[in-house]
């Protein structure tokens, strides 16, 4: 079925390793330092974190792929690797065109004003000065941070910060859009706005990846799901609802009530305790 479609992202046995300096409690002491210098214990304090361990999948144009899994299962790392921001240790990720990552903690420069961050973000994404100037009002408007735009970003609430970041990153349409919990901290109004923007971007972008802990959001937006645990894919496929139900079961949650025909969630009102 997929043969005629254009693959947009191919992960081929992808491995990602983070190297963490200063891990473990042995760093500061003179004795360990001496041992290191003497060459008997080389670089004792580097620890490797194998965040992605052999992941393979194909995503086609028009796909909206949901990535689910516990915290620390490698979802964010996977998106960063697709965006080309983290080099693979083994295997590779291939992409068609350019990928843009919208993340929550994609912090720009905290001690600079929102205004400067907008300009820097646009310029870093390769926009020209004129383009940046042209997009500036719409970005500020979309972010809805209002008067806070001339305050340093460290003065922002986390919701405001992520709104501004989303507004910056979403201002440019890309071939592949990677959304990493970018909407989790926003309020209801912003969620509606950003959802519309994602659908819009998806139309031009071709492929969207969505990392979300809100499983209902995944069900609503995605036609495929990848379930990851400890850096590996547990399962993936187009049976979004089936996989999500299994995921909930494995996590020890209460099974979701579904309409047997449509598969849609049935929300029963929980009676208030008296």
């Amino acid at each position: 079925m997929a043969a005629a479609e254009q693959p947009m992202v191919i992960a081929d046995d992808l491995h990602i390793v983070y190297r963490v300096f200063g891990a473990g409690g042995d760093k500061g002491t003179a004795a360990t330092a001496l041992l290191r210098i003497m060459g008997r214990k080389t670089r004792g304090s580097i620890r490797e974190v194998h965040a992605i361990r052999g992941v393979s999948f194909i995503a086609y144009s028009g796909d909206a792929v949901g990535v689910i899994g516990r915290n620390g299962s490698g979802k964010t790392t996977l998106l960063r690797a697709i965006a080309g921001l983290l080099p693979p240790e083994q295997g590779n990720v291939y992409i068609n065109g350019e990928a843009a990552l919208l993340g929550v903690n994609a912090a720009l420069l905290d001690d600079l004003t929102g205004e400067r961050n907008v300009v820097l973000g646009c310029l870093a994404m390769g926009m020209s000065k004129a383009e940046t100037k042209e997009k500036f009002p719409s970005i500020v408007d979309f972010s809805g941070v209002g008067d806070f735009i001339d305050l340093p970003m460290k003065a922002y609430s986390s919701g405001m910060g992520s709104r501004l970041r989303f507004a910056i990153a979403a201002s440019k349409s890309q071939d592949i859009l990677l959304v990493d919990e970018a909407l989790a901290t926003g309020d209801a109004e912003f969620r509606v706005k950003s959802h519309a923007r994602i659908q819009e971007l998806r139309k031009d972008a071709g492929t969207v990846f969505l990392v979300a802990h809100n499983l209902e959001e995944v069900e609503q937006t995605c036609n495929r799901v990848i379930w990851m645990e400890r850096g590996k894919i547990v399962t993936q496929g187009e049976d979004v609802i089936g996989i999500i139900d299994r995921y909930i079961e494995a996590s020890g949650g209460t099974p979701v009530d579904r309409d047997p025909v449509t598969g849609k969630r049935i929300h029963t009102r929980v009676p208030a305790k008296t």
Partner: protein, 346 residues
């Protein structure tokens, strides 16, 4: 925690738990090797290092980003201080004040150099430019990890921006320096204009060297700890505090110290700004063994060092300055570019 079964979102999983994957085999991966499939459809590795020419073009595209980033960093650096950007001027002034206090008022040392205060302050300011460029670029990659992991842009933009910050600081320092130099009794001459090409070459050198230190500092954490000591050693052998030609060591070592890049840029700017330096350089006057010997013995009159023979030909200093700048830029750029895809790893 483990028997909290009411969570509907990701809950607690036991270590070593295996997942119920039976019946959920993924059917979609085709038989063709994925790498081949990717090549067939024109997909490219996401973390691919672009070819040099494309890389330079991307870098040129981001020139506004580089300048905006430099300005923004510069402003952010001083936002915590009440005096703000006044510190940009205040820092070199205070620096000069310290040297004036010690060498101008407390110790009356001249080490056989006319206008020792001017000589010293010029040397310190010029060396400081290279020193600060080295030290700030050595941490640029680790400092900017959030930015690197968030947005796609040629990473060389970051060390470049940091050198631009230092250049901006240096231009202000030069203004302060000019005032100091005039105060020490030096005349304003056309030679002053030579500061511009000298500074330009030094900036190119700093960019190249900064690119190299940025890569070294990105994966060897110990490097940025070691760097201050390397820089101090470099300061002492580059003739900031003394005239290299007066050192009592073999001529080949003198020559080697004289053509080291820091010494070259310091000498060029000194000779541009300080008439006393230009006139007392060995070789400035025709060789006179007697006068030279007297200067070596008594250091008096101070400018009779001009009658000694130079170890390296001062006429060649500009060539050395150009050679160092080009060499550093080419080597530093390639060295940085080769690891382009690896900077996000941290």
């Amino acid at each position: 925690m483990s028997n909290d079964r009411r969570m509907s979102a990701p809950g607690q999983l036991q270590e070593g738990d295996e997942f119920a994957t039976s019946g959920l085999v993924t059917p979609e991966l085709p038989d063709t090797p994925l790498a081949e499939l990717a090549a067939q459809h024109g997909l490219r590795p996401s973390a691919e290092r672009p070819p040099v020419v494309a890389y330079i073009r991307h870098l040129w595209q981001r020139r506004h980003f580089i300048m905006a980033f430099a300005t923004a960093r510069n402003i952010a650096m001083y936002t915590e201080a009440r005096l703000g950007q006044v510190w940009q001027v205040l820092t070199p002034l205070l620096n000069a004040g310290v040297y004036f206090l010690i060498f101008g008022l407390l110790l009356h040392i001249n080490r056989g150099i006319p206008n020792y205060l001017g000589f010293l302050v010029t040397g310190v300011f010029v060396f400081n430019f290279t020193q600060r460029a080295f030290i700030s670029t050595s941490t640029v990659v680790t400092e900017s990890l959030p930015l690197i992991r968030a947005l796609h842009f040629p990473r060389a933009a970051l060390p470049l921006a940091y050198v631009m910050i230092e250049l901006q600081q240096m231009v202000l320092s030069i203004v302060v320096l000019a005032v100091i130099v005039v105060c020490t009794g030096e005349p304003i001459t056309w030679y002053w204009l030579l500061v511009i090409p000298a500074l330009l070459l030094q900036t190119i050198f700093n960019v190249g060297a900064g690119l190299a230190t940025a890569r070294l500092g990105s994966n060897v954490n110990d490097f940025s700890q070691l760097l201050p000591f390397l820089m101090r050693t470099w300061l002492y052998v580059s003739g900031v505090l003394f005239q290299i030609s007066t050192l009592d060591i073999a001529r080949k070592w003198v020559a080697l110290l004289q053509i080291n890049p820091a010494a070259i840029y310091i000498t060029l700017i000194r000779e541009a700004l300080l008439t006393t330096q230009r006139q007392s350089q060995p070789g400035a006057m025709p060789y006179n063994a007697l006068k030279c010997a007297q200067w070596h013995r008594t250091k008096n009159p101070l400018d009779w060092s001009a009658y000694c023979a130079p170890v390296t030909n001062p006429a060649h200093y500009w060539y050395y300055a150009i050679a160092w700048a080009v060499l550093a830029l080419v080597v530093g750029f390639f060295f940085f570019w080769r690891a382009e895809a690896k900077y996000g790893r941290g």
